[in-house]
Symmetry: C2
Subunit: 365 residues, 2 copies
């Protein structure tokens, strides 16, 4: 494959292995895998899930639901707090597929009801500890208020309780991840128990990549929704969700200059290609990506460490030893493992497999 | 205009005023304005420059040069270190327009020469103090080496010396900005003087938004290349380049939840809409955008301060007083002034003017 400019490489074999591993874990645990597709945003990668028997998915916007509905997905949860201003698109989609929305308060549901013409499923988000959105698990009044709105209309079909333990992203060990997993599932089961008599088919849905990658006990849970695991990234590697060998995307970046005296290599590959999520090294210095050497079979981790230390709009600045600087020249191409693959994929809007096949993504606008 | 999801609003009047102000400053100072189009990446906004008499532009990639060449721009500098792997596209463009490339070393130019079939202009980048790329001003040997490569081929036409004082972005006052401007122009004039006997038509090209917004003395300089000033943003406001009233874009974000007890409002508007550039408040807490109230005429700064404190992929979390929380409900729409308008525009890929006209941008792929 002839790389001439920043290009997002996708190792299909690793990606399919990541998918298969999670599908098997879900099967072993008798939970439904409803993977989050916001990471890859791609019909093609969605089909790889379908080939493993996955029949439902999660998305982060109504637009993204429409994109996947186009490709035959007919059971989609929009795991983002309901924005009832989008009622036209919601009605259109709900007329075609099983569309589930996410309620975090009664107001938005009431706003939707004024315009709703087709039936939608409703999950209620429970804040299991991340404190971003969702109903406080001790706030039975708000939960009852939301359930009352759902009961008030035959167009609203209560599906269950949903939680996203996003605070697992601050973990740095399996034991920390498992602690959050246990807390989350306990909270969900506790709230579920309070209402299961009224809703015997209640689904408890949890799932983020760290806990779903590490945990092996999902008893009492009916559905998991991890997303990032399809590609993983060096943030997940740092959290402990995966190894370097599981990371399935790398940004190929042409070298344009080397500065051995400064220990820096400049590549074409900036904030508009990698996005600007950042990790801190032990000494506090920022890391925007980890450099790999491209090979005929994909990429390999070099013995010496090279990391992206800063990003301009199109420039990537790599910290490297004098030896690494001397081994590279303008016209060479390096790979960069992203900090956060969801954001890198989002800005790149397309992938190339290692055999050079182009894989498109949802258009940005 | 009916806003239902995250939408990038462009105040055409403010934007045209920003353009006019810079055009007039360039005229007053008898320097050529070759504005950087990486900020807006839009044919339409480019035409607003053309209407003010601008005839040349700067871009940050060969792809972007091709995009603007399509719309009739025929004098374009790619102000990013030459990546000779793109020789096919460079040859294609150089056959149609005056295309200038940027040399930071001799190697890349030599690589290009092996494949070059059409004449290109060459600027040599001088590192005037930012230390990202460019030839050290005291390193006459490297400059001579690059000039020798240029002299070796009739297809390479030396245009001049170019510098980007990106370290002006760390300034927080006019006096700091003017100091960097003075240092940069002095460095450029000193290097220029050493070679002007050989190249009497030498162009000295400088320019970044802070120095071009604040400075009023460009004597000895022939060309300026600011870009961000077309929209400005709250980073430029913090640097001192502009006032809030000059900022010409705002991301409209539907409110989906309010949490008065936490002092937080959740909007649809996340990292995939704003991008993740960040400023620090005095107490060290991060700011990803400044909240404005949308009005019939555009937007206005509220008396009380609301700022974006964190971003997930699609969620924006706004810190707000209990009073502001109480004044808002799901279905309302807030505006967010971006930290870095170049990056926000890049991820949104389209604008809507206040009258609802859609303005497209360069496709991402």
């Amino acid at each position: 494959m002839n790389i001439t400019r920043p290009t997002l490489l996708l190792d299909e074999q690793r990606c399919r292995a990541n998918i298969r591993r999670m599908v098997e874990k879900a099967r072993r645990n008798s939970v439904t895998l409803r993977p989050h597709f916001k990471t890859h945003q791609s019909h093609e990668v969605g089909r790889w899930f379908r080939e493993e028997g996955v029949t439902s998915c999660t998305v982060s916007s109504v637009r993204m639901a429409a994109y996947f509905a186009e490709d035959g997905w007919n059971d989609i949860t929009v795991a983002f707090p309901l924005n009832y201003l989008e009622h036209e698109e919601i009605n259109r989609l709900a007329g075609k597929i099983q569309l589930n929305v996410l309620a975090v308060n009664a107001e938005a549901l009431k706003g939707l009801l004024e315009k709703l013409t087709n039936a939608v499923g409703v999950f209620v988000e429970i804040d299991s500890g991340y404190h971003r959105t969702g109903v406080d698990p001790s706030d039975q009044a708000t939960l009852d208020e939301i359930l009352a709105v759902i009961e008030s209309s035959p167009l609203l079909d209560f599906k269950g309780l949903l939680s996203h333990a996003g605070h697992s992203y601050s973990c740095r060990s399996a034991i920390e991840i498992l602690t959050i997993h246990q807390q989350t599932t306990q909270v969900m089961k506790r709230v579920g128990t309070r209402i299961r008599a009224r809703y015997p088919d209640l689904v408890l849905s949890v799932g983020d990549t760290p806990t779903c990658s590490i945990a092996n006990d999902f008893s009492g849970i009916q559905e998991i929704r991890p997303g990032n695991f399809v590609f993983y990234d060096i943030m997940q590697r740092g959290i402990g969700s995966c190894s370097d060998d599981n990371i399935a995307i790398a940004l190929a970046c042409p070298v344009v200059a080397t500065y051995p005296s400064r220990g820096e290599i400049i590549v074409h590959g900036g904030g508009v290609h990698l996005a600007k999520d950042v990790l801190k090294q032990e000494d506090g210095s920022p890391v925007y990506g980890k450099v790999v050497r491209l090979t005929n079979e994909g990429w390999s981790i070099p013995a010496t460490s090279m990391t992206v230390k800063s990003l301009s709009q199109e420039h990537g600045i790599i910290r490297a030893s004098a030896e690494d600087c001397a081994s590279l020249k303008p016209g060479d191409v390096l790979g960069v493992l992203p900090v956060h693959s969801c954001m890198t994929a989002d800005v790149m809007t397309e992938y190339y497999t290692l055999s050079g096949k182009r894989i498109t993504m949802m258009p940005k606008a």
